[in-house]
């Protein structure tokens, strides 16, 4: 696989745009999770706001490589806002399924691809699964999201 397939435009672009960057104020049913990648020391804080059964908002802060930053951005967009900024209403149950599918694909060493209909821009992260050392980078925000959700 070439480097360009790993670092697709979409990824480099999200790494710069950083959708959802900046933690929203704590209000309503909010929960956060802080995760670290012990190899590089990168950290992320992800905050979710839920409203009954529905995930309303995902925001985050942290520094890291372009894969981890893009992944957080894509997650925030996918879960909380569609590309036109319209707010989504993802049920909690579906959010967990989403994380599980994402994990499965990323751990598959390239054998399971992320579906574009299900994952939107995040589908561009499929290529990461062939780089086993980078899977943690792409997973970091999703693990934080899952953890925050479990506590919200």
């Amino acid at each position: 696989m070439s480097l360009d397939a790993l670092y697709q435009e979409l990824i480099l672009d999200h790494a710069k745009r950083r959708v959802g960057f900046g933690l929203a104020p704590e209000e309503g049913a909010t929960a956060s999770s802080h995760q670290r990648n012990p190899i590089c020391g990168d950290e992320i804080e992800v905050r979710v706001r839920v409203d009954g059964d529905v995930v309303r908002d995902v925001t985050w802060e942290g520094a890291g490589c372009s894969i981890s930053q893009a992944s957080a951005s894509m997650l925030a967009e996918l879960v909380a806002k569609d590309p036109d900024g319209v707010v989504r209403e993802l049920p909690r149950g579906e959010a967990s399924v989403l994380v599980n599918h994402f994990r499965e694909a990323l751990r598959s060493r390239g054998t399971v691809l992320l579906d574009e209909d299900e994952f939107g821009d995040a589908a561009a992260l499929s290529g990461v699964s062939k780089y086993t050392a980078r899977v943690k980078c792409a997973m970091l925000a999703w693990v934080a999201f899952e953890d925050a959700l479990s506590r919200a």
Binding site: R36, I39, T132, A133, R134
Partner: protein
Amino acid sequence: MSSTTLDATALKADFPLLASHDGLVYLDSAATSQKPQAVIDAEVGFLTSANAAVHRGAHTLAAEATVLFEEARETVAGFVRAAPEQLVWTSGATAGLNLVAYSLGNASLGRGAPASARFALRPGDELVVTETEHHANLIPWQELAARTGAVLRHIPVRDDGTLDLDGAAEIIGARTRVVAFPHVSNVLGIVNPVAALVALARDAGALTVLDACQSAPHVPLDLPALDVDLAVFSGHKMLGPYAIGGLYGRGDVLEALPPFLTGGSMITTVTLDEAEYLPPPQRFEAGTQPVSQAIGLAAAVRYLDGIGMDAVHAHETALEQRMRAGLREIPGIRLLGDADGAERVALCAFEVDGVHAHDAGQFLDARGIAVRVGHHCAQPLHRRFGMTASVRASAALYNSASDVDAFLDAVSGIRSFFGVAR
């Protein structure tokens, strides 16, 4: 034996040292085993094609090496029916037992997470081992007792080599915090009653630590089913490389134990003044790990599983019976712990009346038979049986009935050579 038979003479061809030493009867596998070509190839293959630092690099080689290393963990964990995260790499059984003893010592000094407090030892607490221990499962507990004020107690062994379970039931009680014992003693060869000892320990709320060094290469092992809290084994005794071993632990136990060795790759955040630790197994794996050795050990257990541990056990049981029956017939031989009908591995330790063990071993060596002589790192056990040293013959899957016969034939000549046979 039926479908589980194996052809030891054919197997020898897989072991380059045995194949190239014509006439060598190697009966010292309890000390260290020989290695099949598959183990050597796996390690050399790794070193010449994928060698790189694991869990650290992002480059292709490092990522490949990490995958191979973690696959090895899965394979070796699977061999003892454990989950990968229940297997900690160590440099051997001795290191694994010291890890446990020092980790408990650290808990006693208030180190570790709040959950570690349940392992803290106080003066008067009791640690229990058996009279049959290898020094590796004895001295670390002596030292832990000395450091914490705990008291070390010993389950007696009967004249026939079986553990005195009545004695155990009296010794293990409310003060008992740890019960550590060998699955199979390296001098007696008897498979100890794990379930009975674990039941006593559980009733007392004590932690159980199993020394599985001498069972792992010889009997099918299911550590979770044995229900011990912790267990150790050594790679070099089970066809694998030197300098690697495993520590198995139940999830909740490993989770609560404080770290032992500290350094790189076992932390999340480190400041100049303190460190936060990763969950198990990494918490216990400080520094560069025995990477090629893990891959070699995985090849060793794949080799054993390829033959089938049931077949290995059946074959070795037959060898054991032949050896014991033969030794019982030779005048002037005194077997240590010669219980009838005990479940055993293929290992016999004995004295030759009137001939020092060293001389007997030398005589056997001159006939191409490699056995071990001495106290086999079990001085208290020898003292218990009224001796300082013995001769020990220990077989493995690559030994054949004719190896045993050659051994018996040679043993029967010892006393006349040294002029003590009448």
